[in-house]
């Protein structure tokens, strides 16, 4: 045990002496959370809108106020003619134009309906879709208020859509679990495979092997620091996403930490496996980045929904471990579900861990012969 602890201490020294390693372990998670949280956001905030009000009555003013005070939109200018629309878009700040038809207010009161046109700048399709959805929602809301207040009590059938678990459709809810998934597999698999191949490349592995340390002690000694640092990382990411984005953990934190530890173990054993097949650090880095990072970002359901992928990619997706962890972590963090809802995914990750360890041990033995 004392031998082992001395060895673990040495591994910590390697990590804390190397600024690059520290940046990868702690800098990247913080940067990723901030980048994904702020820069890569699917939400709209203060999107520029112009208003062409041909009616100019009390109701259109109210509706305009409602739109611009929603926080999603900010008025850029008032237009006078239809011919101004094109120019407003070309100036670039305006993402949508709201047009109220002539006699909007009086029509609405007399006939019970009036037309508001929403024209969007579809040169940015995502923004256009979002703007449309948000303005529809605002208009619907306005409708309900109006029918509630109107004396004649016209009962309009209004769909009331409720977004469960993430009512504001905030994209952090999607990114934070994704970032945790990505960071853990990256740090654990990449760093372990690099640190083990480094010993091979520098010739220190031979010295360790001829020492009384058992191979299992060497491997455990190499991965223990990364296991501990990764747990700290999970806590760091959770605290940060709570402080910065107000994202709470709805389910059990204990369960979340246990699942994270299992996933860290899986990633570490994957790292060990990578180190048994790569001869140099470059090889290990290459396999980890291309083989793990890209599939995790593209195929795990982190950014693109798996249901929308072609069938062949769905099959590929089901063999990459991050897919299962994302499901688990989303369930626990956002829906607040317990182990009963994620036990299948948990078993899959457990099975993968055992498989990777089994293959690594076999490969290691062959190399020792």
């Amino acid at each position: 045990m004392k031998r082992f602890l001395g060895f673990v201490k040495k591994e910590f020294l390697h990590i804390f002496r190397d600024i690059r390693t520290l940046i990868i372990i702690f800098g990247i998670p913080v940067a990723q959370i901030l980048i994904f949280g702020f820069a890569v956001s699917n939400d709209i905030k203060d999107a520029g809108v112009a208003v062409l009000d041909l009616s100019k009555d009390e109701i259109t003013r109210k509706l305009t106020d409602k739109i611009t005070s929603s926080g999603f939109f900010k008025k850029t200018e008032d237009l006078v003619n239809y011919s101004d629309i094109d120019l407003a878009f070309k100036k670039g700040k305006t993402k949508a134009v709201f047009i109220f038809e002539k006699d909007f207010g009086s029509r609405l009161l007399k006939e019970g309906k009036a037309t508001m046109n929403v024209i969007t700048d579809a040169s940015e399709p995502n923004v256009a879709t979002l703007v449309t959805n948000y303005s529809m929602a605002i208009a619907g809301d306005f409708n309900r208020e109006l029918s509630r207040n109107s004396l004649n009590g016209i009962a309009l059938v209004q769909p009331e859509v409720k977004m469960f678990y993430n009512p504001a459709l905030k994209s952090h809810f999607m990114f934070v679990p994704g970032v945790i998934t990505l960071i853990l597999i990256l740090i654990c698999a990449l760093m372990t495979s690099v640190t083990i191949t480094r010993e091979k490349e520098f010739g220190t592995m031979e010295v360790l092997l001829v020492s009384p340390l058992k191979p299992i002690q060497i491997i455990l000694g190499k991965v223990t620091p990364y296991f501990l640092l990764s747990i700290i990382n999970v806590v760091l990411i959770l605290v940060m996403s709570w402080l910065v984005f107000g994202l709470p953990v709805k389910g059990s934190i204990v369960l979340l930490m246990l699942e994270s530890m299992l996933y860290i173990l899986m990633s570490l054993s994957l790292g060990i496996l990578i180190s048994t097949v790569s001869k140099t650090m470059q090889q290990a880095i290459f396999i980890s980045l291309i083989g793990l990072m890209l599939p995790t970002i593209l195929l795990s359901g982190f950014i693109y929904p798996i249901e929308n992928m072609p069938v062949i990619y769905q099959y590929v997706s089901s063999i990459i471990p991050p897919k299962y962890f994302i499901t688990i972590i989303k369930n626990i963090m956002i829906k607040g579900t317990g182990i009963l809802f994620v036990w299948k995914e948990t078993l899959v990750i457990l099975g993968m861990t055992i498989l990777f360890i089994f293959i690594s041990v076999k490969k290691f033995k062959i190399r020792l012969q």
């Binding site: 060895f7 002496r17 010739g203 031979e206 009384p212």
Partner: protein, 247 residues
């Protein structure tokens, strides 16, 4: 006299599939001897050293190292040998002291003993000023001396040196050999592989391997007489590289 033989090898065979890497090796190495282990690349040297150091098991034959059976008790062998390779086997990002502490710890030595030997070692090598410097700041020659001393920290009965002087200048090599002599004089057996033939001359006895077999084993003097050569290098070429003589 058996207790004076720290390595006893009888009919050692190591096969990988149908490939015979070590073909019926038999030799002894005495206590305090400097034993040179020569052979061209691929002659089977590395395989033999791996078996002697407990890393790999013989297919058949008897191998006793420091009194333990390499087939059955490799863990006991590992405790009683030291090892140093061409790459010097120190961690470049750790300090001199940290490296010493690490190796002491790995070999399960008590902290007080590690500290005491560290002091002795720093004193003997005149390394006191370097104690808290990281290895990558040290010149190659010093690193090599330190690596050798670290390999001896746990007082092994045998130390294996795998091409310890590769890429080192002649003066440092000579100093290194002085350390080897001192070590052997202290009763520790030095088992060394090298491809510098002038170094082979410094050994008490040398063995030359070719195609998995030991083709010559004697003192450098006797070998030179037997093969009518003036240097070990000539002996080596005559035995291991007969092709070179014709060309």
């Amino acid at each position: 006299m058996m207790e004076d033989k720290v390595i006893i090898v009888r009919n050692l065979v190591k096969k990988f599939g149908s490939f015979v890497a070590n073909d019926n090796l038999s030799f002894d190495v005495n206590r305090g001897e400097i034993f040179g282990f020569l052979g061209a690349n691929g002659a089977g040297k590395t395989t033999a050293i791996r078996i002697l150091s407990g890393l790999s098991r013989p297919t058949s034959g008897e191998v006793m190292v420091a009194g333990y059976d390499a087939g059955k008790e490799p863990e006991m062998i590992k405790r009683n040998i030291g090892y140093m390779s061409q790459k010097f086997s120190l961690y470049e990002d750790l300090t001199v002291k940290e490296n010493i502490m690490l190796y002491g710890g790995i070999y399960g030595m008590k902290l007080a003993i590690i500290k005491q030997r560290t002091e002795e070692l720093l004193e003997r090598l005149n390394f006191r000023d370097y104690a808290n410097r990281i290895i990558s700041d040290l010149p190659l020659g010093l690193r090599q001396k330190l690596a050798f001393s670290v390999a001896l920290l746990h007082e092994p009965r045998i130390v294996f040196l795998d091409e310890p002087t590769g890429g080192v200048d002649p003066i440092t090599r000579r100093q290194f050999w002085e350390m080897i002599y001192e070590t052997a004089a202290g009763g520790i057996t030095v088992f060394v592989t090298t491809h510098y033939m002038d170094e082979a001359e410094y050994c008490d006895r040398i063995s030359i391997m070719n195609d998995g077999k030991i083709v010559a084993l004697d003192t450098p003097e006797n070998l030179k007489q037997k093969y009518k050569a003036s240097t070990v290098e000539e002996v080596f070429i005559k035995i291991a590289r007969p092709d070179r003589i014709q060309s």
